[in-house]
Amino acid sequence: MIVTRALTKRYGTITAVRSVDLDVREGDRYGLLGPNGSGKTTLVRMLLALVYATSGEIDVMGRRMPRHAREVLPRIGALIEEPAAYPHLSGRANLALLDAAGPGGLTARRTRRQRVGEALEQVGLAGVDRRPVKAYSLGMRQRLGLAAALIRRPRLLVLDEPGNGLDPRGIRDLRELLAGLNEAGVTVFLSSHLLAEVEQLCTRVGVLDAGRLVLQDDLAALRAPTGLVGVDTPDADQVAALLDGQVERRDGPHLLVRHQDAAALNARLVGAGLRVSAIGPHQRTLEEIVLSVTGAGSDHIAGEASS
């Protein structure tokens, strides 16, 4: 769906994106992660032909970008950083104007009212009144921005920080909406620094750090069992003594044990008369994975003037 090869963007002497080989497959729910300033937004803007690459290639839906932007962009719905709308017009009028600005001619005009209504319904703004967008709350604006991405019934959604400004309920609504669209065949590509958001929604992740794509894999593969079992026990000392040599790490009542089968380990501990309050196969969290491959981020300025 999206393939880039050695994609690079330089602003003067600063390299914002450095030789990125992105591979988003059809039907993916792809999460692009990375600290602030790692180049997520620049990368997203290059995919949408807003920013022109210094070198490298971009294919979206099999077509070279930005040369074929005119054919590709109508099938993409996008949310780029904050949503934006004309503040003195209502949400509905904004969507209608934005839709009318795009290609499509008469067919688009005939279905416009219906599509705008559907998009508002999808994002939970169906009952919105005629008040101007300047009176909207942050969450309503974010929902309106999502609706704007949906009015053309896109095959690919490119969302930059879609969860910004949404309350917990809004984030859950967003997750359900995106999952639903994805099941209906829409490929979802989103960038975020909210790990939990990505972890719960995405099937595939890429991690940007200082402009480089340092990791790209299926989430399931990344979170595959590590061959460790986590054990919580009030009898930590005895467990450690019993399993001597198998304990990887110990932190108070929490132990990490090298073992293939949590159930068998549990049986053995209980058989030895030791109490177990929690036990299960250990998985790395997305946070651990991301932190292990990324640096400090560009908004962290160390005291030693190291960059």
């Binding site: 803007r45 949408l48 032909a49 807003l50 920013v51 022109y52 932007a69 005119r70 962009l73 109508p74 993409i76 996008a78 780029i80 950083e81 904050e82 949503p83 934006a84 709308a85 004309y86 503040p87 003195h88 017009l89 009028a93 104007l97 934005l98 839709d99 009318a100 600005a101 795009g102 290609p103 704007a148």
Partner: protein
């Protein structure tokens, strides 16, 4: 896209507020003149104002002369300067471009909307001023507008004190007989000439719009591009009045701004009008080309 831009222009409160304010200035001036019956003496003050007490039908010309130096260029610079930079500042530019709207198409649509705005303002000023003139100051009492025949001193444009009035035009007017100094203008002739003046002023404002539109593609600040265009005009005005800058004067954007007054001479004095059209055409072409070249290759980071 052009339709969308026009809807945005017409549904924006600013459009109508600036329109009303621009029309209000000549109205206020007319009220003062009507109450006091004190028009500026011939040859002083704004062009045509000395004659309007005798002939209210001439008030559109006087009104255009009132709004031309400041009100009109400010309004045009604000609208044109806002066109791209304003979209960038509100963030809507990126959403338009990924809709997608071609960058050239967007620029053309913005230009058309600015042209419509210019025509709207100029026509509104003319129409309201005509109504004001006829109702407040009364229609022409005599075809010869009450001036003694051959009264060359009452030339409307001869001593307006406004920059850009060519000395040659003044001399030419002195030797020619203007409508105001004697030869009667029929209503049809007056209409024709006001139409000519509207066209000339609109094209002059298009020059301003082209500069502002170019700056609008350079910066993401609508205020910056509007003020930049106004700064260019002020600089041009300063140089126009500076004798030491004679060399560059024929090429300054405001040099022939007041040449439309020549439409009201009898016969029409074409030299400066033609040069005015010419120089504005050059400014429009150059700055629009620069705007296009810049905008179509620009990284949109706003």
């Amino acid at each position: 896209m052009i339709g969308v831009e026009l809807v945005k222009l017409l549904r924006r409160p600013r459009t109508w507020i600036s329109l009303v304010l621009t029309c209000a200035l000549p109205f206020v001036v007319a009220i003062f003149i009507m109450i006091t019956h004190l028009a500026p003496p011939p040859g002083q003050g704004s062009a045509f104002l000395s004659a309007v007490l005798q002939n209210g039908e001439l008030y559109p010309a006087a009104a255009l002369a009132l709004v031309l130096p400041v009100f009109l260029p400010v309004a045009v610079a604000v609208v044109a300067g806002d066109s791209i930079a304003g979209e960038a500042a509100t963030g809507t530019l990126r959403y338009l471009l990924v809709r997608p709207v071609g960058r050239t198409r967007l620029l053309v649509a913005k230009l058309v909307s600015v042209i419509v705005y210019v025509l709207l303002v100029v026509l509104a000023v003319t129409v309201t001023a005509y109504a004001t003139g006829v109702f407040l100051l009364g229609p022409s009492q005599a075809a010869a507008v009450g001036q003694p025949p051959g009264g060359g001193g009452s030339l409307p444009g001869a001593g307006t004190g406004l920059a850009g009035q060519a000395p040659t035009a003044g001399q030419a007017a002195g030797s020619a007989v203007t409508s105001l100094s004697g030869t009667p203008l029929s209503l049809w002739q007056l209409t024709e000439r006001i139409a000519g003046a509207i066209a000339f002023i609109s094209v002059s404002m298009l020059g301003v719009a082209a500069i502002a539109l170019f700056l609008s593609t350079v910066t993401d600040s609508a205020l910056g591009s509007a003020l930049g265009a106004l700064a260019a005009l002020v600089a041009s005005e300063v140089l126009v009045t500076l004798n030491a800058a004679t060399v560059v004067q024929p090429y300054l954007p405001t040099r022939y701004w007041l040449a439309w007054i020549d439409f009201f001479r009898q016969p029409v004095f074409w030299r400066d009008i033609q040069r005015g059209f010419g120089i504005q055409a050059v400014y429009v072409v150059v700055f629009l080309a620069a705007a296009w070249a810049n905008f179509s290759t620009k990284d949109i980071t706003a």
